[in-house]
Amino acid sequence: MSIKIAELTHVYDKNTPNETIAIDHINLVIESGEFIGLIGHTGSGKSTLIQQLNGLLKPSSGEIIVSGYNITDGLDISKSNKKRVSKAESRARKKRLIEVRKRVGLVFQYPEYQLFEETIEKDIAFGPYNLGLQEAEVKKRVRDAMQTVGLDYDTYKDRSPFDLSGGQKRRVAIAGVLAMKPEVLILDEPTAGLDPKGRDEILYQIKSLHEKEKLTVIIVSHSMEDMAKISERLIVMNKGAVVLDGTPKDVFRNIELLEDIGLAVPQISYLVKALNENGISIDASIITVEEAKTALSQLLMKKGELC
């Protein structure tokens, strides 16, 4: 299922002195099964964009179509025309929103702060119950979701989510969204504030989820290294607009542009660039440590033969 974003614009505090344009006429098509990294400086409009995709924010203009459901049309209940929205209409709107949230799962930054139930099982079940599912189905989904994030169901189901470590709490929160079985999973900096081990575990789990279930994944991140490693398509945002969109290799070639907008490229890209400038020719599209390792050892081997 695809997401189509057309001429999307979002303005905060419209018609006040604080008016800020968060998103400025964005056009994007996201195909089913893509693994997308969304990067951009703080305040570039990433968070606003992902909230639009879930119907949490209503755009000022433009539309988003998620697998045939237009989630921006008719959702507007602004104060001026509040009376005109009939009960049936608002019910239809709610239904459509539920349809969208079934399909698009959004995990916020620091999701562990949204946990509230007494047990982990109950907390993860919160989302599925809200979708109106039966108890047996909910239980099955909770079990599956916990397995996906690497928490043993029988050991953890009756424990309080507040007794867990930071990384485990985050996995419970992510499981809470996964249990809703979305087709598109959006994560806002899922690795922020985690130790290297926890970070790798979460990224690995997301990646394998993407491969196994053919889930469309959109990750917002500040780590260029992580994005180079796992994403298949990178979207770079600056000041509310998409400035670069392509494979990580293509995107990270634009070192100057990325630095201009306050971002960076993976450290390996800097190394490759420096090597090329100093007369050692090496493939300029190398962005991960693994690739660099193979290329450099090949280069050294060749040199060895020559000597």
């Binding site: 909230q51 709610k94 799962g105 702060y113 509230f116 919160f126 809200n130």
Partner: protein, 264 residues
């Protein structure tokens, strides 16, 4: 949805009133309140209106901004007016006599005064908060309460508590908004259903909010302690409150105002 709420309606413009000493402003507005309830002549009220008009003009706060603050209490004013009109019994003949409803001229007069008093009272107090930032206000309160330290009143601690509470209102609002969105993304519905359902729907919002408030309090306490905070004893301030010529003029005007009120 929580973005529209503005708390602590400080209106930041540079004006003489804004720059006055907060202690003076607090005392002056208290005296103003007392004066409102002492006077009961129509001519005295004109003096009050002229006085408050001058203060508004000097403070550079737009008049309709102040009037907006009156809106929420408008119902209360109407209510007070109606109650006074109907329930005051006078000595003379009633103005209108229809069944059990009797309206006396005294009632109308009293209702009228009551409404004016309430309006002036709200304008006066909102002027204080509009022209004094919350931090200045608590500073002023701390100074004014410090004589009571002798009898065991923790003036500094009270002021510190107020400062912290005010400081965290916007933070907690932001947090609420964030948690609300996160739970809505999980299908929570805060907007429909009957009262019972709505109250229940608040649990996923309130539990994380309380937890984060406690966590923040903990962290703040730790940070304060790490910087050797140990209460008000011997503490110096970054901004020392000083009476200036501005406040002298202010006091003079206040005295003139009070004497006018008393004479009238």
């Amino acid at each position: 949805m929580l973005r529209d709420i503005t708390i602590g309606q400080y209106y930041s413009v540079p004006s003489i009133i804004h720059k006055m000493d907060p202690r003076f402003k607090i005392i002056a507005s208290m005296l103003y309140l007392v004066s409102l309830f002492l006077i009961n002549q129509i001519i005295a009220y004109t003096a009050v209106v002229v006085f408050i008009g001058i203060v508004i003009k000097l403070s550079k706060v737009p008049v309709n901004f102040i009037m907006k603050g009156l809106k929420p209490v408008f119902m209360l004013i109407i209510f007070a007016f109606v109650i006074n009109v109907f329930l005051t019994t006078g000595t003379g003949d009633p103005l209108i006599h229809a069944g059990f409803i009797k309206i006396y001229p005294e009632g109308v007069e009293r209702a009228f005064f009551m409404a004016i008093r309430l309006i002036l009272l709200i304008i006066g107090t909102s002027l204080l908060t509009l022209t004094t930032s919350p931090i200045e206000l608590t500073d002023g309160i701390e100074y004014l309460l410090s004589p009571f330290k002798r009898i065991g009143m923790p003036a500094h601690e009270l002021a510190m508590m107020m400062t912290i509470a005010l400081r965290f209102i916007p933070t907690l609002l932001e947090e609420t908004d964030k948690i609300m969105k996160a739970q809505m993304a999980r299908g929570a519905d805060f907007e429909s259903g009957n009262l019972m359902n709505r109250a229940k729907a608040l649990i996923p919002l309130l539990v994380p909010l309380f937890i984060s408030a406690f966590r923040r309090a903990d962290e703040l306490a730790m940070a304060m302690e790490a910087r050797c905070y140990r209460g008000g004893e011997g503490r110096t301030r970054m901004k020392v409150l000083k009476y200036s010529s501005r406040d002298l003029y202010g006091s003079a005007i206040m005295i003139i105002y009070l004497t006018t009120c008393i004479i009238l």
